[in-house]
Amino acid sequence: MTTRDIVFVVVGVITALSGLLAVSTRHVVHAALWLLVCLGSLAGCYIVLGQELVGIVQLLVYVGAIVVLVLFALMLTRAPIGPQPDIDAPVWQRVVAALLGAATTALVAAATLPVIGQQSVDLDTPVVTTQQIASAIFGTWVWPFELLSVLLLVALVGAFAVSRVVLARRSRS
């Protein structure tokens, strides 16, 4: 076990536990905060694996923007302090969720486990730099990238249109 292995295990366990807490806690805001810990330590996982840029982007997008928006929306609408029994899921939902989670885990494991041990990368001398990621995104993968940005744009315009339609209807009635 190298130091890197130990750090990876620690960060991975934190990610898994905080993810579990995010779905099992009965405090709404605590759930969002645990999600924050989960996504943040996932960024830690990427950095331990030598992918600095991916880790930083994870931090910028998920922790700095998405969870902040989640917290903002929660606090703006309804976020009482203390546990809320009414957000408890019924038993059948828990069973279905556990089944779906297990199925996804099995799928990912089936795809990744056979590959383990076939390839090894020397993480102490990183080979993938920021520039290489950039030229890959804007070279090989430029069309999927552009398609995704169009998708986001459509979603943005759609959200705007929906809110305008609702507002217009309200003002008419």
Binding site: E52, V57, G64
Partner: protein, 321 residues
């Protein structure tokens, strides 16, 4: 972090921590004195003897002695954790901002991006503080802070992207090395946008609606006492240090200047200090904006200017290649 011995890592961490504890105090003391003189008064004069230089240390000792109060209806764990969450991101940011090519806490490939990412995390401390206090004024302040940060993060990221584009790298060291005096004109709109957005992210006057004392007491920090309150203050001054140094490195060439090879780090600090004084100057001379004026400024002015700057930079980079 390959090639570093454990001793070196520890020494670097201690140096960054020392800078993190000393520089904000320096800015705080400057604020006391500069504000006082701009308003025709003396400021603190007794603590420590010469012009009250030890006032902030005395303040610190006072804060340590105060009782640590947690409101009865508050969410205890989130309330206690919030000052730390607000403070640590600035420590991380300070660790990757270079003072000179070799004088940097940790060498990171995409350090400009990392600084932006961790500064955005700091807002979560304010949100936690405002929500966990179980006080409507605190919650209102936290809402204002979050709305402000979400609006001003976008122009800030855009102008940093413009500078990174001009330099062809995301590393702060690389950006400062690629800097030429010509950038002062070429990147001027971006620099102005960065400065305004930085002020807004720091919640400094004229963008201090989250802590507007005449409307919502002290916003998210209303219920805090003692050391935890002092941590929020430290976070604010550390934020000024981070923004000022970042501005110096991105738009003023950092260590560029006479004898840059030997005293370059001093140039960066000096440029940062001048910018910190400008931040203080704004506090003395501007009234507070209204919440809707703030959002209007961000979306109607800053975002279009930042986008325009990005386009101008792109054209410039292609033309000069």
């Amino acid at each position: 972090m390959s090639g570093l011995t454990w001793l070196e890592v520890v020494l670097r961490a201690v140096a960054v921590l020392a800078a993190f504890l000393v520089l904000p105090l320096l800015v705080g003391q400057t604020e006391h004195k500069v504000m006082a003189h701009m308003q025709g008064r003396l400021g603190p004069m007794y603590a420590g003897g010469f012009h009250g230089w030890a006032q902030l240390l005395a303040d610190g000792i006072k804060f340590v002695q105060k009782e640590d109060v947690v409101p009865a209806r508050a969410d205890r764990s989130a309330f206690r954790l919030a000052p730390g969450v607000a403070l640590v991101p600035y420590l991380v940011a300070l660790a990757v901002i270079p003072l000179a090519p070799g004088v940097v806490g940790a060498k990171v490939d995409a350090s400009a991006l990392l600084v932006l990412a961790v500064i955005g995390v700091g807002i979560i401390g304010t949100l936690m503080a405002g929500w966990a206090s179980a006080n409507k004024y605190s919650l209102l302040g936290a809402m204002r802070a979050a709305a402000q940060l979400v609006s001003y993060e976008l122009p800030m990221v855009l102008v940093v992207a413009s500078v990174a584009l001009a330099a062809g790298t995301l590393s702060l060291v690389g950006i400062a090395q690629a800097w030429t005096p010509w950038w002062l004109l070429w990147q001027l709109p971006g620099a102005l946008v960065f400065f305004v957005a930085g002020l807004a992210e720091l919640q400094r006057v004229p963008f201090d609606m989250p802590v507007a004392d005449s409307e919502i007491v002290f916003g998210p920090y209303t219920e805090y006492t003692g050391l935890r309150f002092a941590f929020f203050l430290l976070a604010e001054y550390a934020g000024i240090v981070v923004m000022a140094l970042l501005f110096a490195v991105l738009f003023l060439g950092g260590w560029a200047g006479p004898w840059a090879a030997t005293v370059g780090w001093l140039w960066t600090l000096l440029k940062g200090l001048v910018l910190a004084v400008v931040v203080i100057w704004f506090r003395v001379s501007w009234p507070r904006l209204r919440e809707d004026q703030l959002q209007r400024l961000a979306w109607v002015w800053l975002v279009p200017i930042a986008l325009l700057q990005l386009a101008v930079t792109a054209v410039g980079v292609v033309m000069m290649r």
